[in-house]
């Protein structure tokens, strides 16, 4: 790892002469104080934006964010001319749970004994090649969510195949889900290390609309009835646990593991993450949450702008992909690039996901944010949607999501406006440690950049 970083610094040096290579790439050693100076700092926190600000870091934490001289004795990184933001979030992501889409994943189960109990944090792979590639998009955290069985993730509509399920016999994409709950999500930090899980059990995912109807036997209304029955059983389980354990209570509709997993949901300690698209379905989910006293997060919400006032009134945050604007299904006939702007104007808190589950294309998160700005969203609201908002929604804002004293030093030094494709991250820090920006892709690129030479490319070393 150390050797890699040194080489990385050597590669970066000619590109970014303003960044001292040793400072840009070397990890802060324990108890060393690091000060990053001279940049425009967009904190996504109470301090707002600071011209020529200073971030002071020690032991992986932010000591201070402000202006003025760096503390005496600190190792100084001159980031003049750069822009610093908090590390970005990939929300509604599949990172760590998929490597090559068509070869399967650890995102969904179709097992009636394990539905809500499926906890995606178990089985995530820190060695995934997707994680370093995501970092090159300025991402330092991800909210990884399970997918409903048969949901079609991995069935790509590009490549001329259009819907893998149609193309392959028994490809699994047409699998009918037989569980109401997809499982529980997790927040991870994208350091690719064994400690990457920051928080598990951050929400229980349920697909509504057409997908939910399928799970409940065919009709939307049936799913609402089925969920109410299950939630009633979970409350009964929580209140009569010992009787249930000894077999002296009535039979309940879920396995013990699932009942246990749903107790925090009915107690309002963990949110229901409702994957829902059509305006009418959003309304029925809002009503369900109100009646059942559930905390709620909407995901998808392509027609959210049509019920924006109701979502805002309920205080429910929304995860959306800002670039979804075609009537790709009969559930999103009202999709528009102005969805984010209109929801924000109504007072709804937003977080952004990226195409295809913000996994292989997670690095496009920042471009989606920029596109939302092009279509009317205030710039600061777009930054919040990829930093502090998802941190708050998933209960990690005490640690990350903004640049504030006491939080983990997760930040990015950008060459320019972080939403612009022609800007690049000069350095990405997670808990104060400069991350390696070498990826499998940059290794391939460099191996083939010059095609001459006496020996085949397989002999090349970086």
């Amino acid at each position: 790892m150390r050797r890699r970083l040194v080489i990385l610094a050597a590669v970066l040096a000619p590109l970014f002469p303003s960044l001292p290579t040793s400072a840009a790439a070397a990890p802060a050693s324990a108890s060393e104080t690091l000060a990053v100076t001279g940049a425009r700092i967009l904190t996504a926190g109470p301090a707002g934006s600071l011209e020529s600000g200073v971030i002071v870091i020690r032991d992986g934490r932010i000591i201070s964010v402000g202006q003025g001289a760096p503390p005496a004795g600190a190792r100084v990184i001159d980031a003049a001319g750069s822009i610093i933001t908090p590390g970005l979030f990939a929300t509604g992501s599949l990172l760590g749970a998929v490597e090559i889409g068509a070869l399967g994943d650890d995102l969904s189960v179709n097992n009636p004994q394990i539905s809500a109990a499926f906890d995606i944090r178990e089985g995530l792979d820190p060695a995934s090649t997707l994680i370093p590639i995501a970092r090159t998009g300025g991402l330092t955290s991800a909210v990884v969510l399970p997918q409903p069985a048969g949901g079609g993730f991995g069935a790509h509509e590009h490549d001329g195949e259009v819907s893998g399920g149609r193309l392959t016999a028994g490809g699994g994409h047409e699998l009918r889900p037989n569980t109401l709950f997809a499982g529980q999500g997790a927040v991870i930090r994208l350091n690719g290390a064994g400690d990457m899980v920051v928080r598990g059990g951050v929400g229980v995912v349920v697909a509504f609309g057409k997908a939910g109807a399928q799970a409940a036997g065919g009709a939307r209304g049936a799913q609402i009835a089925a969920l109410k029955a299950v939630l009633s059983d979970v409350r009964a389980f929580a209140a009569n646990r010992s009787a249930w354990e000894t077999g002296s209570y009535r039979e309940l509709g879920l396995s013990k593991a699932d009942l246990q997993a749903l107790v925090p949901l009915v107690q309002g300690r963990t949110p229901l993450i409702a994957r829902v698209h059509r305006a009418a379905d959003i309304r029925s989910v809002l009503k369900l949450a109100r009646e059942e006293k559930l905390r709620l997060i909407l995901e998808g919400a392509e027609e959210g702008w049509m019920v924006a006032a109701e979502i805002a009134r309920a205080g429910v945050p929304v995860i959306l992909n800002p670039i979804t604007n075609r009537p790709d299904s009969f559930e999103i006939l009202g999709a528009t690039l102005e969805n984010a702007a209109r929801l924000n104007a109504a007072g709804v808190t937003l977080a952004f996901t990226a195409p295809e589950g913000a996994a292989h294309r997670a690095r496009e998160t920042r471009y989606g944010a920029g596109t939302a700005v092009a279509w009317g969203l205030p710039w600061d609201a777009a930054l919040a949607a990829v930093t502090i908002n998802p941190a708050r929604m998933f209960g990690v804002s005490d640690r990350t999501g903004s640049l504030e004293a006491g939080k983990d030093a997760d930040f990015v030094i950008w060459s320019g406006d972080p939403f612009e494709p022609l800007s690049t991250p000069k350095a990405v820090y997670i808990r104060g440690e400069a991350q390696d920006l070498t990826t499998r892709q940059t290794e391939l690129r460099d191996r083939y950049k010059d095609l001459g030479g006496p020996l085949p490319p397989a002999y090349r070393r970086r």
Partner: protein, 472 residues
């Protein structure tokens, strides 16, 4: 096939020989047009007419010409739907309407050389799944234009993204998937009303995982990559034989001899068109080693490959592609959705450009087609990060001139040069910015989209009466 061929041949022989022979031989009667592949090579002729336009001039713009140049204070004069003149600081002719583009940017209309608009229309329901004829691995007889639904709302959203020309291709489930068609991106009641006049037909071929998976899973050939290659070669052998039969027949008729015309075969007509150089091969192929095999298949049978598509490993053989004059149509950011897409690099396109090969950014996707400029910007940034000095003006060619070349219409469009069709986009800012949006889109000099004028914001029939009414 055998029986049909025999019966058709028998039928044709009783009615006599070909048209040319008629002059020399009283016995020879003209072949019915539908039985003669040469009689009406385009049986579904274009009815495209440019939308109404006036002569006008765009002044004061910063312009990417598509030829690698960037102009300041550019004037573009449009007469009769063509670019009459372009230059820095030109005085617009007296009396023509002037479009003030000071502070704006102008580019050629964008061209997507790999789209499935219309053949996989929105909404993506089974009823709209018309791009892969997965009943045989070799289906050169099918034509994408017969599947195109002109009301696909995706044509409108693509136009808002600045796309004025699209090549619509069949899917990649088959070794030989059928003919592609090049369309003007104008609202039309019929596909014929969109067909780009004079654009060559194209043929979709596919390597790799898709065909072998589709047919292997049915227990038939091909089930391996070597099976794929055997399939292409068998098809070209048949096509060469068919071509020879028709050549022989026409030679005999030309000599005034009595001759039986071969039975017409729609699929072999298309393959024969490729062998004659009239139909351009668009070859879906991810891996470098497979592309090298396909180049040799083409040499074996004497045809050319116009472009490889997806081609995420093109950078590994950039020299080979440059030497063979083959374009590569690919993405910057897409990778890893299947094994043969694992070795993508963001800098694929700039690495090809640096090697002197023809590089194209394409969409293959009804979302990405709306933002080809962003994808080009991502590729450009990746190239710069790799140390390649490429200008924005050069990168503009990846989504304009180069795709025009790859689909055989560079003499008509793809650049802002005098004499070309006036396919022009006015952007509110530099199109390599994430914040850029189109303000006006002209096709053949006609205004087809105007952000500020609802009269020029067409909507599909499908959108009427629906939530949002197609305002995307």
């Amino acid at each position: 096939m055998g029986l049909v061929a025999l019966s058709l041949t028998a039928c044709a022989s009783t009615s006599g020989a070909g048209a040319k022979a008629g002059e020399k031989s009283a016995a020879a009667k003209p072949l019915r047009a539908g039985l003669d592949p040469g009689a009406r090579p385009d049986a579904f002729p274009t009815t495209y007419r440019p939308l109404p336009s006036n002569d006008f001039a765009i002044v004061g713009a910063r312009a990417y010409t598509g030829t690698g140049q960037a102009l300041n204070n550019a004037t573009i004069v449009i007469r009769s739907g063509r670019i009459a003149a372009i230059g820095e600081g030109l005085e617009p002719p007296q009396g023509v309407q002037v479009v003030d583009a000071r502070g704006k940017w102008v580019s050629p209309g964008l061209i997507d050389s790999h789209s499935h608009l219309g053949v996989y229309a929105s909404p993506a329901e089974e009823a709209h799944s018309d791009g892969n004829e997965l009943t045989s691995p070799t289906t050169p007889q099918v034509w994408a234009e017969h599947s195109v639904w002109p009301q696909d709302p995706g044509f409108n959203t693509a136009r808002i993204g600045g796309v004025t020309t699209v090549q619509v291709l069949p899917g990649s489930g088959n070794l030989i998937g059928g003919r592609g068609v090049t369309l003007r991106n104008v609202p039309s009641r019929t596909v014929q009303g969109m067909k780009f006049p004079g654009a060559p037909y194209t043929l979709k071929m596919a390597c790799g995982e898709n065909p072998k998976r589709v047919y292997g899973s049915k227990g038939q050939a091909p089930s391996t990559r070597m099976g794929n290659v055997a399939g292409y070669r068998a098809a070209w052998i048949e096509a060469a034989e068919y071509t020879r039969k028709w050549d022989d027949y026409r030679a005999q008729v030309g000599r005034g001899e009595k001759a039986d015309p071969p039975a017409r075969d729609l699929g072999l007509d298309t393959l024969s068109g490729v062998l004659r150089g009239e139909i351009l091969v668009q070859n879906h192929c991810y891996r470098a080693d497979e592309m090298a095999i396909m180049i040799d298949v083409a040499k074996e049978f004497g045809y050319r490959i116009a472009s490889f598509h997806h081609a995420v490993e093109a950078y590994k053989i950039a020299d080979l592609l440059a030497a063979n004059g083959i374009c590569t149509a690919t993405w910057a950011g897409w990778w890893g959705f299947k094994l043969e897409a694992f070795d993508s690099v963001e800098a694929n396109v700039p690495l090809l450009q640096a090697a002197g090969a023809c590089a194209v950014i394409k969409s293959d996707d009804a979302d990405l087609i709306q933002r080809l400029n962003q994808e080009a910007a991502m590729a450009l940034a990746a190239g710069r990060a790799a140390g390649l000095q490429i200008s924005e003006a050069e990168a503009m060619a990846w989504i304009t001139a180069n795709p025009a070349k790859a689909i055989g219409i560079l003499d008509q469009t793809g650049t802002l040069e005098a004499g070309k069709r006036a396919d022009i986009v006015i952007w509110d800012r530099n199109p390599f910015s994430i914040y850029a949006r189109t303000e006006k889109v002209y096709i053949d000099g006609a205004l087809t989209w105007d952000r500020r004028d609802p009269r020029y914001q067409p909507r599909s029939d499908f959108d009427l009466g629906q939530p949002g009414e197609g305002v995307r």
